[in-house]
């Protein structure tokens, strides 16, 4: 199989890149995603705040996804969902896997729009046991909002980035108790907007200059030892769930080791982590226009 332009990832950036490449004149675009739906992580983001610059409205993640997906339907971009890109080779070949088989795809240009993954607690030197009940914030967001899974009741959040604070609010709104948000710095890590919307109105405590030193619990997590970084003092706190928001890592394992060939472009969060979808989209559009123009 062949295509002029392969775009990996049908989230906001991938779709934006596809739309602008189409508008720039490229007529042979294949857009793939491992999920069964478009939008990447947007469908699990039920809060509002997407697309202010683009659409002049604060949309929810699913609404925003509907808008961009509808625009995609008016183009001839081939959308392939439920498809994993297994490997990208230096000879401009991708190996795709889905339930119908394995496909070797030759492309001229590749736009990688594979988003990011979350840093997990495994990377931190945390002592104690390794029980059930520890999740990343994005994982919990998917579990609650897309799968209807109830993750726990007494929740401690480690890290005060945007995702951590947005989930803190959702926990409160769904009747869970947020014991505290724990942050090693002396200021929250999120945008001010999310702090004022998600934390202040619900009186959620943020413990600054504090970290989780140890995890307790044999089967399910039963608590943690907190360490206050300035005094060194430690205290034990009970919880049945630990949610981590330790930051995002651009997901570009697919092209690790390929260097920077002239046919490869990174768009959106896999290039650098953007605070706002508008900014990821603007970056992806510029790349789509440039790359699409080569085939006009």
């Amino acid at each position: 199989m062949k295509t002029e332009l392969l775009i990996v990832g049908a989230g906001a950036a991938g779709i934006a890149a596809a739309l602008s490449a189409w508008e720039a004149g490229c007529r042979d675009i294949l857009l793939t995603d491992r999920r069964e739906c478009t939008g990447g992580i947007l469908p699990q983001c039920l809060h509002e705040g997407f697309g202010l610059a683009q659409y002049g409205a604060e949309l929810t993640g699913p609404d925003y996804t509907d808008r961009i997906t509808e625009r995609l339907e008016h183009t001839g971009v081939r959308l392939v969902l439920g498809t994993e890109v297994l490997t990208i080779r230096g000879d401009k070949t991708a190996l795709l896997s889905d339930r119908s088989g394995l496909t070797e795809l030759h492309f001229e240009r590749l736009i990688l729009a594979s988003g990011c993954r979350e840093r997990t607690i495994g990377s931190l030197p945390v002592a104690g046991t390794r029980p059930a009940g520890i999740f990343t914030a994005g994982q919990v967001q998917e579990m609650m909002n897309l799968r209807g899974q109830n993750i726990g009741q007494e929740v401690l959040i480690l890290g005060s980035g945007d995702l951590g604070l947005i989930m803190a609010r959702q926990f409160v709104l769904t009747g869970k108790h947020v014991i505290a948000v724990v942050e090693k710095e002396s200021r929250y890590g999120s945008m001010a907007r999310n702090y004022h919307r998600c934390i202040v109105p619900y009186h959620i405590p943020i413990l600054y200059r504090t970290t989780v030193a140890a995890i307790h619990g044999e089967g399910r997590i039963s608590g943690v030892t907190l360490r206050h970084l300035d005094s060194g003092a430690e205290e034990r706190l009970a919880c049945d769930t630990l949610v981590t928001a330790l930051g995002l890592i651009p997901e570009r394992e697919l092209v690790r080791g390929l260097g920077e060939p002239d046919w490869l472009f990174l768009a959106g969060n896999c290039h650098r982590v953007h605070d706002l979808v508008d900014s990821a989209v603007a970056e992806a559009e510029a790349i789509g226009t440039r790359v699409g123009g080569e085939f006009a």
Binding site: E84, L102, E118, T120, P125, F135, I151, G152, G219
Partner: protein, 479 residues
């Protein structure tokens, strides 16, 4: 009452291999395990090394078994369809005293007949392994050292035992053992068993099990250790097992390029208060040691830390026992009570050794029908694109990726559940799902749903590793 010829207590590596080898005779065999799966205790975490066996006392049981086990390990792993990497090991010296220690080990190994041993200069060692610290003075190279995944090995042995007729009883905890007229009566929290021979492979619980019968002269003191795992994509990973023992005694470092492609670093040394709880000091120790031995590694690529527990057998006076200890507290009752390093290397040999004793005791006939071959779950990641395409055409589930970090498909997960995985860890140990750089944060929720669906249980009954480790609901179950 369930009647067997032989009952093996404990489904760790030793128990699984004892059961497998007992199947070489015409015997009615049961393997009893307290937990929800095999290999959930000591066997779930260790250094993963298949030792070349150069530092045992020539003529000792340990020396004999290790040498034979190492020579046969490739064949064993072929029989059981378990990945084995004979990557070789380098034991390093950074000082004059250590140079002498390596020379002694070399001489000892040569005397024992360990194949291929070579003493290398620091320069030669760095040629073989460019990431070593420049201060390396000499190294003992053992080409026969290797690595295997401990739980894959144990699960394979258990499956092979079951295929040859051994019966596996999970979630079955031994409460009492009594000697009866023609053997033993074993009471458990499930049912009562009777048998003529008992083989006690209960690991950390082996002393407790033996004391149902007689006071044990051997005490098991749990010995904890911490490990780090580096992502398979991390750069400058060694391709050999790298070992370092400091001159002033104390714990060194072992770095193992695992069969999964990641790098295992450890163990630290400490007394463990809670089994399997990681210590902060231990982690810092492993990091420091790694920085001094393999300075080019980026420890920012750590994806997980965990703790292992080893049974450290001691005599009544508190002295550690170095050799393998097999107790025989009653007729037809054997306790593999003090088997530490290289217990995994020797698991199949020890299994045969004890099975032979049991068979002789019972006057059992050989079982010509015994089949040593077990087929593992076919892993998509090990297939060529052509094989993989064919696999998907045959079974579309091979086309659907569930764990994207480790490239595990739905077909493998379903097969793992069919073979007995009843928990997330059970799936992880059989398929690798959740072991990669995102540590299951993208696949756990899918696995949870699949387990519930396949086992016909509600999602909130699905556990990480047995009752009490439910993944949903938390402690209060208020929803």
């Amino acid at each position: 009452m369930k009647q067997f010829d032989v009952i093996v207590i404990g489904g760790g590596l030793l128990g699984c291999f004892a059961a497998r080898n007992l199947c070489r005779w015409k015997l009615h065999i049961a393997l009893i395990e307290a937990r929800e799966d095999v290999c959930t205790g000591i066997s779930r975490a260790n250094t993963a090394v298949i030792y070349p066996g150069y530092d045992h006392r020539p003529g000792s049981l340990k020396a004999k078994l290790t040498l034979r086990a190492n020579a046969r390990f490739g064949t064993l792993c072929e029989e059981l369809d378990v990945p084995f990497s004979r990557c070789g090991s380098l034991m390093l010296s950074f000082g004059e005293k250590a140079d002498e220690v390596l020379k002694k080990k070399y001489e000892n190994g040569r005397m024992m007949g360990v194949p291929g041993l070579r003493l290398l200069s620091g320069r030669e060692a760095r040629e073989l392994e460019p990431g070593l610290a420049p201060g390396v003075r000499s190294a003992l190279y053992a080409p026969t050292a290797g690595t295997v995944n401990p739980w894959e090995l144990g699960i394979a042995a258990a499956e092979n035992a079951a295929a040859n007729g051994a019966e596996l009883f999970l979630n079955t905890r031994v409460l009492a053992i009594r000697q009866i007229a023609d053997g033993y009566r074993i009471e458990t929290d499930q049912e009562v068993f009777a048998c003529r021979v008992v083989i006690n492979c209960a690991g950390l619980q082996a002393e407790r099990v033996q004391e149902f019968l007689l006071p044990s002269p051997v005490h098991i003191v749990p010995d904890g250790a911490d490990y780090l795992i580096l992502d398979k994509a991390a750069e400058h990973k060694p391709t050999h097992i790298v070992q370092y023992e400091p001159e002033d005694g104390g714990k060194g470092l072992t770095a193992v390029p695992t069969v999964e492609g990641s790098l295992l670093l450890g163990p630290s040394e400490r007394e463990n208060e809670i089994p399997f709880a990681v210590s902060e000091k231990g982690l810092a120790f492993v990091r420091e040691r790694t920085e001094s031995v393999l300075p080019d590694l980026d420890l920012g690529e750590v994806i997980r830390s965990f703790a292992a527990v080893r049974p450290n057998p001691q005599k009544g006076d508190g002295r550690s026992i170095v050799s393998f200890v097999i107790e025989n507290p009653g007729p037809g009752f054997w306790s593999l009570i003090g088997i530490k390093t290289p217990g995994m290397t020797c698991a199949d040999e020890l299994g045969f050794y004890i099975a032979e004793k049991a068979a002789a005791c019972l006057g059992a006939e050989g079982n010509e029908a015994f089949c040593p071959i077990r087929k593992g779950i076919r892993k998509a990641r090990n297939m060529s694109p052509e094989q993989r395409g064919a696999a998907v055409r045959e079974n579309p589930d091979y086309g659907e990726i569930i764990c994207c970090c480790e490239d595990v498909t739905r077909a493998e997960v379903l097969e793992a559940i069919r073979r007995g995985a009843a928990t997330l860890d059970g799936i992880k140990r059989r398929t690798g799902a959740g072991m990669g750089r995102c540590q299951g944060s993208r696949c756990q929720q899918k696995l949870l749903a699949l387990l519930a669906q396949e086992l016909g249980i509600p999602e909130d009954a699905v556990t990480k590793d047995g009752a009490g480790s439910e993944l949903l609901g938390g402690g209060r179950h208020e929803d």
